[in-house]
């Protein structure tokens, strides 16, 4: 079927993890597809990434031009269209990241490619490639089949693959930029760093995390009582920070912070993958949720499947008693 293209994602001088994760996944696939793994690197001043990628791919297609000093969906799309036409890969993988979802759907439409987003796995069934994705925030899996001719296009979820390597010795192939000058309906202006708050939850040893399950702001009192009893800091899901129950710098997950406390108590949090990505590295995870199917239980060490309003007051009381 052909080569597997993996779009290298980088930002502010950092090669994003999803790149090597996709290349690891692609390595297993390329053999079955009868092709090679090709990392596609678009950028400026990123020679060291090209070098690094050779350890994880058979070939690095490197479009090196000052036009690409920062990511821009319009320019990336133009380049990818040309590269895909020229090299005709079997499969194109782009990260299901804020960059990938800003780019891939438009590329799919422009080139009329068979397209599946947020893919968590790629299976071979009867010689055919079947992308697997999820519905209802992880409660249902779905297998898709591609119809029509390759190239197929997918966005691939972050943190689903353990990176292996470096184990290859690919070569770098410099490609002249198909784009010669700036085009411009969209201009990159600047990056604005996330706000810094009073407590740095990435350093916290004990975290009490709150989600939409507490329903109303006034119920934060229950959370505060528990946190006080065990000297924990409070953090939360995006639903909790969006609702204004907590400041934004207390949000855990892909668009918030990655935390690694000794103890993480998740209360009324369903465990969307964007949340899990930020906390699954905690040493011990306690989850309180009344839904036995909540994905948070997939990473928990202790599961309390019950109504948090019935559990919390007693939990706090007992902890106070035991700790004197």
């Amino acid at each position: 079927m052909g080569d597997v293209f993996v779009l290298a994602e980088h930002r502010q001088g950092v090669l994003r993890d999803v790149t090597l994760e996709m290349l690891t996944k692609a390595s297993g696939l390329a053999e079955k597809l009868g092709g090679e793994t090709v990392a596609v690197l678009i950028g400026s001043g990123v020679d060291s990434f090209a070098e690094k990628l050779t350890g994880y791919s058979d070939k690095v297609l490197f479009v090196d031009n000052p036009l690409f000093s920062d990511y821009n969906s319009e320019k990336y799309q133009k380049v990818l269209v040309e590269l895909i036409k020229q090299y005709n890969p079997g499969l194109v993988m782009i990260g299901h990241t804020t960059q990938g979802v800003d780019l891939a759907p438009a590329l799919a439409v422009e080139m009329n490619l068979p397209f599946v987003t947020d893919v968590i796995d790629l299976e071979f069934v009867e010689g055919k490639l079947q992308p697997v994705r999820q519905y209802y925030q992880g409660k249902v899996n779905a297998n898709f089949v591609f119809k029509g001719e390759p190239p197929y296009l997918i966005t691939f979820r972050e943190a689903t693959v353990e990176v292996t390597g470096p184990s290859r010795q690919g070569k770098v192939e410099k490609v002249e930029s198909p784009l010669k000058e700036d085009i411009g309906y969209r201009k990159f202006i600047e990056y604005v760093e996330a706000e810094v708050g009073d407590v740095d939850i990435t350093q916290s040893e004990i975290l009490v995390a709150v989600g939409r399950g507490i329903k109303e702001e006034k119920n934060m009192a229950l959370i505060e009582d528990l946190a006080k009893a065990i000297k924990a800091d409070i953090c939360g899901s995006r639903a909790a920070t969006d609702a204004g129950w907590l400041p934004h710098d207390r949000q855990v997950g892909t668009s918030g912070k990655t935390v690694k406390p000794k103890l993480y108590i998740a209360i009324g949090i369903s465990g969307a993958f964007q949340h899990l990505a930020g906390m699954k590295g905690a040493k011990t995870i306690v989850a309180i949720n009344k839904d036995p199917d909540a994905p948070i239980f997939s990473v928990a060490d202790f599961a309390i499947i019950d109504d948090l309003f019935k559990v919390l007051p007693k939990l706090t009381e007992k902890l106070k008693e035991l700790r004197g």
Partner: protein, 262 residues
Amino acid sequence: MKTFVCIKRVPDTSEAEVKVDATGKDVDSSRFSFDINDADNYAVEEAVLIKEAKGGTVQVICMGPQDADVMIRMALAKGGDSAIRIDDPRINAVDPLKVAKVLAAVIKSQEFDLVLTGCMASDDGSMAVGVALAEELGVPHAAMVKKLEVEDGKVKAYRELEGGIAEVVEITLPAVITIQTGINEPRYAPIRGIREAQKKELKVLKIDDLGLAEDEVNAASSLVELQKLYIPEVVSRAEVIEGAPEEKAEIMATKLVKGGLL
């Protein structure tokens, strides 16, 4: 400003048990409660805020069943001027590119400055419709926007990236923006607005009304096909604490303290 805002009706499955139905390609939704998709609620608010600041109109578009009318009227009550609902079983709704094609067909026939969508529908989580829609319309876009400043003939969009960093981009209008949750504080519909909304126009259209042929948007025309749905095996190594709620609390507290976890 002529603004369109795309809203989807989705089930709240956060607490519900989800079961695959007999076809193996859909879920049994008979017991779900439905409402406007979270991000779309913020998109409606943003559209209304822009109208309040700059004047103009807000048109609501929804592809969905008649039951969606309640949610559409709510958006009208908050400040939307009129609405179009596309209701046609021939459309392959599992393919976000087909959904984008249909939404584009509605918008194309009119003048517009800005199209707002949510960045993600919580049921399918595709994160694809908005950006695909922009390409169908042939206009620029910015995805996952958590702050939007409308200027003359252009917008400054703050795209939210991993880690909460924002990438600021400037794009010329007309454009499509996909809205991230938390960009504003969605209002409650005022009582008077709810009354007025009943009188506002809500057109229901079929693909033929949009100049689309069945074989442009049906399942046969899609380049991907849903093979099967299944409940994933949840591999949990968690120790499940048993007992009445208070007992569970006591057991857990004891484990935390005696187990040296605190």
